[in-house]
């Protein structure tokens, strides 16, 4: 705390952001929470239904559970790219001599393209009849029998709609992790190398423990953004075929704006909020605890 602060100065700095946040975020969320106990189509009178929406969601709605499962797979795929692959690339990059700057720029490029364009793009890439990029490559390397309509095959569609989201932000997370690795004291690594430690051991025993705090931040960012993921599955397949790529967010959106079932949609969004809180809580529980022990 600053010594020369006054109550007034705290208010001057805090009130404007807080006011905007309350107006734009908190109040609408509260309105949504209240709505979740009603049945409302937007035009006729609201009808109080108690927890019926919640009962319907948890017991009678097969799409909801399907979408919940899908959202977890979507999360796993995104995390694989955004945390796994990006950490791998970040590590690789530290061994690259020249051209690092160019590589960093190029990897960041997909992040600036709008999701509308990305969906157009991946529709062509996944296409089967006529053969899209992936199927052509499979054909070319002699794996033609693996070719499939990626977005129509119920076994592949979920991963196929998740990958573009992971792909798009790979560069961003890579850069953050790369910067964290750069901050690892060189002397530690050098000492370990002189002791004959392999690159793998340098990574697991020195680099990774050192970047753990950044890793946690990245993980929280990636997790919450993925759980909110919406655009690409919505635009690419609209949840299909059937409900194979329906996520909780797309299902909620459709419930609100296509079925005009605003009350039930609010119930689903309350669930999404709870789900996100639980996920973040778990990350803290699992990772913070361990980092406390090691540090």
């Amino acid at each position: 705390m600053l010594p020369h602060r006054s109550r007034l100065s705290v208010l001057v700095f805090l009130l404007p952001p807080l006011a905007l946040y309350v107006i734009a975020v908190l109040f609408p969320i509260l309105q949504s929470l209240v709505l979740s106990f009603f049945q409302w189509d937007g035009i006729t009178d609201m009808e109080f239904v108690g927890i019926d929406n919640y009962i319907r969601m948890l017991t009678r709605d097969d799409i909801f559970w399907k979408a919940f499962g899908n959202a977890l797979v979507y999360l796993a795929v995104c995390l694989f790219f955004q945390l796994g692959v990006s950490l791998f690339v970040a590590n690789l990059l530290t061994y690259v001599g020249r051209g690092k700057e160019v590589v960093k720029t190029l990897l960041l490029l997909p992040a600036i393209i709008s999701t509308v364009a990305i969906s157009f793009l991946f529709q062509e890439i996944y296409s089967f009849e006529p053969s899209g990029l992936i199927n052509q490559i499979l054909e070319f390397v002699g794996l033609g029998n693996l070719a499939t309509p990626w977005l129509s095959n119920v076994d592949t569609v979920l991963v196929a709609v998740s990958a573009p989201e992971g792909w798009r932000f790979l560069g961003l997370y890579m850069l953050i992790l790369y910067a964290a690795i750069l901050a690892v004291p060189k002397e530690l690594e050098e000492a370990a190398r002189l002791d004959g430690a392999s690159s793998w051991r340098v990574f697991t025993e020195i680099r990774f423990p050192y970047i753990r705090p950044v890793w946690i931040t990245t993980m929280i960012m990636a997790t919450t953004y993925s759980l909110r993921g919406f655009d690409i599955p919505y635009l690419l397949t609209n949840g299909g075929p059937g409900q194979s790529s329906e996520l909780l967010t797309t299902y909620m959106f459709k419930t609100a704006f296509r079925s005009t079932d605003f009350g039930y949609a609010s119930t689903i969004s309350v669930f999404i909020v709870v789900e996100c809180i639980v996920a973040v809580g778990l990350i803290f529980l699992l990772l913070r605890r361990r980092s406390d022990v090691t540090s």
Binding site: F13, P17, S131, C276
Partner: protein
Amino acid sequence: MRPRRLSFAKSLTTGLVVAIVIVQVYPLAWLFVTSLRPAQDFAAGNPFGIPSSLTLDNYVRAFEMADLPQYILNSFVVTAASSALIVFLGMMAAYALQVLGFRGSKVVLGLFLIGIIVPVQVALVPLFVNYARVGLLNTYQSMIIPLVGFALPISIYLFTSFFQYIPRETYEAASLDGAGPYRIFFGITMPLSTNTVITVVFVNGIFIWNDFIFANTFVFTEGLKTIPLGLQNFIGAMGSVDWTATFAAVCVTVTPLLLVFLVLNKAIIYGLESGSTKG
């Protein structure tokens, strides 16, 4: 033995990096090439083959079908205003919470952080109804307010994390010189935060520039449409799409952001590297 292994590892590393770069960049190159293909060629032939000829027709059609400069201008206004607010308000809140501090600041911070994990779709209906009552529908503000609101949490999070790293002594020294909270904010905290500012602007700017959901819900007139909304004009009756013109429009609308990105590339990467890792 050892040098050969090393050089093998090295070329493997290079190979892998090159492969990953290709995966990241090829689709974008394809987008650009397709925007130059004749429409017929795209419809009939192999969309991933080499185009039979190149043409600017698609760009002509793209400009005829939609008022692209207007969309770009609108996106620019919304993005610039929102980014400025996100940075300024985020910094203010973080300053109050982290530097000034007060009892219950942890609770307020928690309240803000909830916003990181709330899906934006939750707020659409209530916001719309609220806007309708106060006459804010169909204005720049109707897009800017929720965009800022939902970006504030991550901005505050990044700023508070960064402020933790500003040594206490810096403030104490300034205080001893008689600087009050306002002078410290403008004189010390703000200038020190450049890297975090770049991170915040870049990460949020991407999302705001590409926002579809708020614009689609709150804006009705052609004159206020932003780029993602304007791209919808390329979807025709019953869902038919003039693909090559659409790709041309995508290329046109990406250009401003791309230019900003390329010009500020060094600063952005430097900012991201040093701004986001202090957490």
